[in-house]
Symmetry: C2
Subunit: 235 residues, 2 copies
């Protein structure tokens, strides 16, 4: 079965967590809006009006199933491609961690959009500065410190133990994205999370991920996505 991934064609965004899982698994998939069918195909699926239309991308078509919400897609893929434990307790734990990453991703987005997604960044710069200050003083230490602690408690291989899961791939993306968006902040912070930095590097070196990152399938970071580099927020 060939999966169809639907997401905005110009950004990594939330779709990237799904792309990384598909790529690591070597799954057969098409990134629909980046091909000839374009964004129109995605809009058509969302306007279906019946069945199970997602409110927003990303969503994944797997045969007749249409699955929305990033963490939900990973829950589905994890079980099928060896990217999650097989036991119920293991699956719930990995999903719990992914939902915690989901919370973090919202907070990363809100550093540049504290007044909401409808206004441009340019129209909310002062609140963005205040939110970003709080993000780096309180929130990053809380979230990344938590994952660092879990990784350490497991001996440092992967977040849930000796086997890679989709959570590890998502944490690669978090570290990679924070480095892009906030190079100064992140440089000063990385000493506090040696395990996560090492995990990032090991994920980047995995054959399938390495090939993906070097390919045109990996959209470069830019200022339309979740991780945006604005100099004034990284002061």
């Amino acid at each position: 079965m060939k999966y169809e991934l639907y997401y905005w064609s110009e950004i990594q965004g939330r779709g990237e967590y799904v792309r990384l899982a598909l790529e690591e698994a070597g799954a057969d998939y098409v990134d629909v809006t980046r091909g000839p069918r374009g964004s129109g195909a995605m809009m058509k699926m969302m306007d279906a009006g019946k069945g199970t239309p997602p409110l927003a991308p990303p969503f994944l078509k797997a045969g007749k199933l249409v699955i929305g919400q990033t963490a939900n897609i990973l829950l589905y893929l994890g079980g099928r491609h060896g990217l999650a434990p097989k036991t119920e307790s293991g699956r719930l734990w990995v999903h719990q961690l992914q939902l915690t990453i989901t919370d973090l991703v919202v907070e990363i987005h809100d550093t540049h959009h504290p007044l909401g997604p409808s206004l441009y960044y340019e129209d909310q710069k002062p609140p963005a500065k205040r939110r970003t200050a709080d993000f780096w003083s309180e929130r990053v230490p809380k979230y990344l410190g938590y994952f660092e602690q879990i990784l350490e408690g497991n001996g440092g291989s992967y977040v849930t133990g000796r086997r890679l899961t989709y959570v590890d791939l998502s944490l690669f993306q978090i570290v990679d994205g924070l480095r892009y968006a906030f190079p100064k902040h992140m440089k000063a912070f990385e000493d506090d999370i040696p395990g996560l930095v090492d995990l990032h590097d090991r994920i980047a070196a995995r054959p399938n991920i390495k090939a993906y990152l070097a390919s045109e399938r990996r959209i470069p970071f830019n200022e339309q996505g979740i991780f945006r580099h604005y100099k004034e927020l990284d002061a």
Copy 2:
């Protein structure tokens, strides 16, 4: 098996979505921090430092399992108490909708805390006003319009069809909470969501929910939770 729910003792907050599911199911549970063990018992679980500590409440202890993240807890409970479909596609669809409600809950919280959770509301009133204006003009119509459309497409009984799921219980809470926090805004908006208003009323009248709402187990809304009534934000 007696479930142990761990959540802040003074607010409905995110714990309320779990409480509603437990109450509707008639499950045997204890709301730990509201009993003699108090909040200390919750803090102790979070500081465990090994195993599967949650980053934040709510979390549910079910035998040896400790499950964190509201939607993850509902995923677990739904399958055990007839509050979710039995098919994989049905379970994923209900979970997807719950994760969409999770997104909405963050946006509700951010109406009074646009600059982040660390500052007091009193220190972020002007940005809160701007975020709230956007919330009501753009976000509420988007989210609640989406659920209204799905409900309508299903004939209006429940969001996923003829059987109640935990998503219906959560939507009861959303309507109830928005009425508390923004009575004026909500009054003007309710004509656009007749199906959801009707769903709210039918949920409130279910025997187990009705008994719960009239009991002391239901914590009243207040200005420490997610849904806060600030007159200046409801102008």
